[in-house]
C-alpha cells in the first residue's frame, strides 16, 4: 500500500457524523463509507501536515488511550483502500490487524480502525425489480426490462 508521508483527507466528499462515527459519501465514485470512531478521528486529522507518528500522538491525547503507530498505519491503509486520501506517493509498510491488536493491547478501549464501504445503487437497482436469471412474468418485473429466455430475466 502507498500513502503520502503526510496523508491528506479528500475534501470533496460529503460527510455526516453519527456520534463518533462518520458517514462519508464519495460523489465521484458514488460510494458511501462508514468510518468507525478510530478511522473517523484519523481521517479528520489527515491535513497533509501530520505524519503517522504525529497522528499517533494526537489520537492518544484525543482518546486518552495509548495509540501506537501500527494502529495509525492500519487506519491509513483502510482509508487509502477506500480512496479517501489524496494522492499516492510514499510506500508504507503494511500493518497486519494482528500487529495493530498487539499495539492496542487486549484490554484496549479503542476499536481497530474500520472502514465499511457500499456502492450507491442506481434508481432502478434500488427499487423493486428482479435480477437477471430470476423467473419472471413480464418485462416490467426485470431490472433489465427484458423477460425472455423461457420466462427468466435477461440482459
Amino acid at each position: 500500500m502507498k500513502v503520502r508521508e503526510y496523508p491528506r483527507a479528500r475534501m470533496d466528499c460529503l460527510t455526516r457524523e453519527f456520534g463518533d462515527e462518520l458517514l462519508v459519501y464519495d460523489q465521484q465514485r458514488n460510494v458511501g463509507h462508514c468510518l468507525n470512531p478510530t478511522a473517523a478521528a484519523t481521517w479528520k486529522l489527515c491535513d497533509g501536515k501530520n505524519g503517522p507518528p504525529d497522528l499517533a500522538k494526537i489520537l492518544t491525547r484525543q482518546f486518552s488511550e495509548p495509540i501506537d503507530e501500527p494502529v495509525v498505519l492500519l487506519a491509513l491503509e483502510e482509508l487509502s483502500k477506500a480512496r479517501l486520501l489524496v494522492g499516492v506517493e510514499k510506500p508504507v509498510r503494511r500493518t497486519s490487524r494482528r500487529e495493530a491488536i498487539r499495539a492496542i493491547g487486549i484490554a484496549g478501549a479503542i476499536a481497530l480502525p474500520l472502514v465499511t464501504s457500499l456502492v450507491a445503487p442506481t434508481p432502478a437497482r434500488a427499487a423493486s425489480c428482479l435480477a437477471n436469471g430470476k423467473p419472471c412474468g413480464s418485462n416490467v418485473q426485470c431490472c433489465s426490462g427484458k423477460c425472455g429466455n423461457g420466462g427468466h430475466c435477461g440482459a
Binding site: 460529503l14 455526516r16 453519527f18 456520534g19 462515527e21 462518520l22 458517514l23 459519501y25 460523489q27 458514488n30 458511501g32 463509507h33 462508514c34 468510518l35 468507525n36 465499511t116 457500499l118 456502492v119 450507491a120 445503487p121 442506481t122 434508481p123 432502478a124 434500488a126 427499487a127 423493486s128 425489480c129 428482479l130 435480477a131 430470476k134 423467473p135 419472471c136 412474468g137 413480464s138 418485462n139 416490467v140 418485473q141 426490462g145 420466462g151
Partner: protein, 281 residues
C-alpha cells in the same frame, strides 16, 4: 416526440405527487379510469402546462385481421418503455415507472426502498431488495395489529419522519413472481395517515429454517445500509444524507437472517415495544 405529439390523444391528466409533476395521455378515453388506481398514493390533479415526465399510452385498436397481433405501447417522454399485447402488462409498466420516477425526482422527500409499518406511534423500516421478503413481513405485522405505511417505499421528510405510501401490497404467490395486489383494508389492517418518527430499522434476509437472532448495528452502519436502499442518493446525495441523519437520531438498527415471517414479525414488534418502554422508564 413530435411524432408522438401528432397522434390523436383522446384524454389525459396532469398529476402532482410528492412535489413531482407528471402527465399521462391516452388515445382511448375509456382507459383513463384504470390509470387513476395506478397513480402514486396521495396524488393530486395538476393543471400545469409543462410536466417533468409525460407518459403516452397507445392502446391498440380492435382489428380482426388474421395473423396481426395488436400491441399496446407506452412511452415515457419519447422513449418506448413497454410494448405488449396485454394491456394489463403495459399498465403495470406505467405504474412501476411512474412510482420510480416520483421516488427519484421528488425534491421534498427521500425515498428508501423499504417496507414500513407503524407500531405504537413509531415507524418500523424494513429495507431490502426485491425478493428479500419485505412484503411477507409487512403482511404478518399487519396481522399482528401494525398500521400499514408501505410495502415498497419509506418516504422520509426533512425532519426524518416517515410518510405513508400506502399502495396496495404486491404479494407474490406463484413461481412466476407475478404480484397480486391487496389493499391493507382487504387484509383487515388500517393504513397510516400521519408521518411517524422511526423507532427501528430492521435489515433482514429470508432463509428457510433460520432463527431470528439479530445483531445490533451502530447508527453509522445502519445509516450506510439505508443509503444503500435510497433511490436518489446518486442524484441528491446531500439531501439524502441529511434526511437519513435525522431519521437515524432515535432509531434502533438491527440486522440478521430470518426464517418464517410469522416467527420474526412478533419478535421485531417486541423489539420496538421494549425500546419504547426503556425510553419511557
Amino acid at each position: 416526440m413530435k411524432k408522438l405529439d401528432r397522434l390523436g390523444w383522446a384524454a389525459g391528466i396532469g398529476v402532482r405527487a410528492f412535489g413531482v409533476h407528471t402527465g399521462v395521455r391516452v388515445n382511448a378515453a375509456g382507459v383513463l379510469p384504470r390509470i387513476f388506481s395506478l397513480l402514486p398514493p396521495g396524488w393530486k390533479s395538476s393543471q400545469r402546462a409543462t410536466v417533468q415526465r409525460l407518459y403516452s399510452l397507445v392502446v391498440a385498436g380492435n382489428s380482426q385481421r388474421p395473423g396481426l397481433r395488436r400491441m399496446h405501447m407506452l412511452y415515457a417522454d419519447s422513449e418506448r418503455i413497454a410494448r405488449d399485447a396485454e394491456l394489463g402488462e403495459v399498465l403495470a409498466a406505467l405504474e412501476t415507472d411512474l412510482h420510480r420516477y416520483v421516488a427519484e425526482a421528488s425534491p421534498d422527500m427521500t425515498f428508501l426502498h423499504a417496507g414500513v409499518v407503524g407500531w405504537q406511534g413509531r415507524a418500523i423500516l424494513l429495507p431490502g431488495r426485491s425478493l428479500s421478503g419485505k412484503t411477507s413481513l409487512v403482511r404478518e405485522m399487519l396481522r399482528l395489529g401494525a398500521t400499514y405505511y408501505s410495502d415498497e417505499f419509506a418516504v422520509v421528510d426533512d425532519s426524518g419522519k416517515v410518510h405513508p405510501f400506502p399502495r396496495p401490497l404486491g404479494i407474490r404467490e406463484d413461481a412466476t413472481y407475478a404480484q397480486t395486489k391487496y389493499s391493507a383494508d382487504k387484509l383487515g389492517a388500517k393504513s397510516g395517515v400521519k408521518p411517524l418518527p422511526v423507532g427501528a430499522v430492521v435489515i433482514c434476509k429470508y432463509r428457510a429454517g433460520a432463527w431470528w437472532k439479530p445483531r445490533p448495528l451502530s447508527p453509522g452502519q445502519g445509516a450506510l445500509e439505508l443509503m444503500g436502499s435510497s433511490i436518489a442518493v446518486r442524484v441528491e446525495p446531500q439531501h439524502t444524507l441529511r434526511r437519513i441523519h435525522n431519521l437515524a437520531n432515535r432509531a434502533v438498527f438491527v440486522k440478521g437472517t430470518r426464517g418464517e415471517a410469522c416467527e420474526s414479525a412478533a419478535a421485531i414488534l417486541n423489539l420496538l415495544s421494549s425500546d419504547i418502554r426503556q425510553e419511557k422508564a
